[in-house]
């Protein structure tokens, strides 16, 4: 499994054999508080980098989840509908949102790695 990359909007993306898995970072779920609802895109939808791809709603706020890179939605994590708390429990694992196919590996590796993201987050506080 490859290392995850991060965006300044707090998504993570991990590329495994041509398919990229996307979710929100542990920091993002902590800032949101208890997640109560997610809205996921239709499978087959084509997204450009920076497009609104999903919505995550917590007791505090509703936030958009942006596509870190361009691609086509290959799969969504339907289990989140009934168990949105999965995002709080395991944001960067079983709490994934979307799988994208047809992504450009170079675009993924151009994003922040874990160390860079950690530095970025600490600059926000």
């Amino acid at each position: 499994m490859t290392e995850p990359r991060y965006t300044s909007e707090h998504e993570w993306i991990r590329l495994d054999s041509g398919v990229a898995t996307v979710g929100i970072s542990a920091y993002a779920q902590e800032q949101l508080g208890d997640v109560v609802y997610v809205e996921l895109p239709e499978v087959g939808r084509k997204v450009a980098a920076g497009d609104n791809m999903a919505v995550v709603e917590s007791v505090k706020a509703a936030s958009e989840v942006y596509a870190p890179v361009a691609g086509e939605v290959a799969e969504v994590n339907a289990a989140l509908a009934d168990k949105p708390e999965t995002i709080n429990e395991d944001a960067e694992g079983t709490g994934w949102f979307v799988r994208l196919k047809g992504v450009d590996a170079a675009a993924v590796s151009a994003l922040m790695d874990a160390d860079a993201y950690k530095k970025y987050v600490s600059s926000l506080d």
Partner: protein, 543 residues
């Protein structure tokens, strides 16, 4: 939201409305306040009531099919003509006496917090006093008893009032046209953005598909733009909480339809570069929409048209003191510049041969209208109240409204500067904004602090909005609170902070302690909402 429980779905086992048949006045899972046992080992009260804070079950839990509050004669034998579709089982309504019904709703009303009961320091809401004079005027039979389909000759006074209200709104904005129909602020936004879209379409500018919205905007702004079919692009704020003009400039282009901005913005700050903002927006061929939710800060001081704004909605229920929240419908008239006026929604109040008339069809000079947004003419009762407010204040009085609202907010900001942490340097406009920087060291959240304010008898401030500030607390005192009331609020906030400093953080995390219910499980309520009461099965069987 798709997370609703469909009708008839099984209730969550932990439903808050679940009560035992034996003790209907003492809900399970709701420990009474101050429940420490006394020397005799007793906690709380026998009934679950606390003096006048009475536990109030649902009417369905109080009622009985064996009782009836009215004396109706038995119907004579008759033959139903519903073709076998008539109801066969019981209708399920509770039987109650008149006094039970009256007491139920009176008790519920006593649990309600309202502007008539105390300070409402919600930011971005302008919860000001609703003068009783407004109410008296709205109840004049010549206004209150009108029907919207009456002949025009019999409602000339009402039309004259609508025209006069529009005249005041024109004077206050410097814009030549007012659309009165929108039902409230969000529909006012929709009206404004539909007008902008219609104007672009009429000019062959169909390729303008993007709307720019600052990231601190009211959530309704991007929602409105999206509803109008636009792609929403957010503009970041600069370190001073204002629109980053360089970022705005970079996002502008030939595909941008409009900028939606609130001024003062949702951080309670005036956008000092608004003239530059207007210039670059117009330079790109886009329109400049202003969300008028914060107009209370500038009413009578500056005319939005002079700031380069093309469209602005008012919230009569904010700036012009008509009831707000559950107290009444809102009302969201929209001011339009000359170029947008032809697209205003119907109906229009116009001069006719025998007095005022209504333009109700898309013909003649109304050929470009976006059409009807709402049944009839808008919130007539609110027009009367807002106009009464304008006349009772006069133009100088309205200017003082803005000045006093800004003074009140700055008084709070100054008094709480060393208690809470201001998000931005002052001075502020009509509302002041704090972050949770001063609370985090105690491991106390903004939510905990808000709940503690409830115990002190205050409605909490707006919390966690705007989103650009961590753990935000947004406070808008309005001009209608006295210095004495502001001082009481300040003393409560300072006193709470002193308790934190003295090591009392734990009590905050479990607040409120004195409200009818303790801390509610908002997460579970959102994840597993129980939207329908159903009778507890054992009790049903026993009857």
């Amino acid at each position: 939201m798709s997370a609703e429980t469909p009708p008839g779905a099984p209730r969550a086992p932990n439903a808050k409305s679940g009560r035992s048949a034996a003790g209907p006045r003492r809900p399970a899972g709701a420990p009474v306040a101050a429940a420490e046992a006394d020397a005799g080992g007793f906690t709380g009260t026998v009934s679950g009531n606390r003096a006048l804070a009475i536990e109030e079950p649902l009417l369905f839990e109080q009622g009985s099919r064996q009782r009836c509050g009215v004396d109706l004669p038995d119907p004579a034998n008759f033959k139903p003509r519903l073709g076998g579709l008539e109801r066969k089982g019981a209708i399920g309504l509770p039987g109650l006496s008149e006094s039970e019904v009256v007491r139920h709703f009176t008790r519920l009303s006593q649990k309600n917090y309202a502007i008539d009961a105390g300070l409402f320091p919600l930011g971005s809401c302008t919860m000001k006093h609703n003068p009783r004079l407004n109410e008296k005027m709205a109840r004049l039979p010549g206004f209150a008893d009108l029907h919207p389909l009456q002949p025009l000759s019999t409602v000339q006074g009402a039309l004259a009032l609508m025209d006069a209200l529009a005249h005041w709104l024109k004077q206050l904005t410097g814009m030549p046209a007012i659309a009165l129909p929108p039902a409230a602020g969000a529909q006012g936004e929709l009206c404004g953005m539909m007008v902008i879209r219609a104007a672009h379409d009429a000019a062959g500018q169909n390729a303008r598909r993007r709307v720019l919205v600052p990231e601190s905007a009211h959530g309704t702004n991007p929602a409105t733009a999206a509803l109008c079919g636009y792609h929403v692009d957010s503009i970041p704020a600069n370190a001073r909480g204002r629109v980053d003009v360089a970022a705005l400039r970079a996002k502008l282009g030939p595909d941008v339809a409009a900028l939606m901005l609130t001024n003062p913005n949702t951080c309670g700050l005036f956008e000092p570069e608004i003239l530059d903002i207007a210039a670059v927006v117009h330079g790109a061929g886009a329109y400049f929409y202003c969300d008028g939710a914060n107009f209370n800060a500038i009413v009578g001081k500056v005319r939005p048209a002079d700031l380069g704004i093309d469209v602005m909605h008012f919230n009569l229920h904010k700036t012009f003191s008509t009831p707000h929240g559950g107290g009444g419908p809102g009302s969201g008239p929209v001011a339009l510049v000359e170029a947008l006026a032809p697209f205003a929604p119907l109906p229009w109040v116009v001069a006719g041969p025998g007095g005022f008339a209504l333009r109700e069809d898309a013909v003649g000079d109304a050929a470009h209208t976006i059409g009807r947004l709402k049944a009839f003419h808008g919130q007539m009762g609110m027009f009367v109240r807002a106009y009464a407010y304008m006349l009772s204040h006069g133009s100088d009085g309205l200017r003082q409204v803005a000045e006093d609202a800004v003074l009140s907010a700055n008084y709070l900001l100054a008094a709480l500067r060393d208690t809470l942490t201001p998000a931005y340097d002052g001075p502020c406009m009509h509302e002041c904004l704090f972050d949770d920087g001063g609370l985090r060291a105690f491991d106390v959240s903004t939510l905990d602090f808000a709940k503690a304010l409830i115990d002190e008898g205050f409605h909490p401030t707006t919390i966690y909005f705007p989103l650009v500030v961590h753990g935000a607390m947004l406070v808008e005192p309005t001009e209608t609170e006295s210095k004495g009331e502001l001082d009481r609020f300040i003393a409560a906030v300072r006193g709470l902070k002193a308790r934190l400093d003295a090591g009392g953080a734990e009590r905050f995390r479990t607040a409120p302690h004195y409200s009818p219910r303790r801390r509610l499980d908002e997460t579970r309520a959102a994840r597993q909402p129980v939207l329908r009461w159903s009778p507890p099965a054992p009790r049903e069987a026993a009857e």
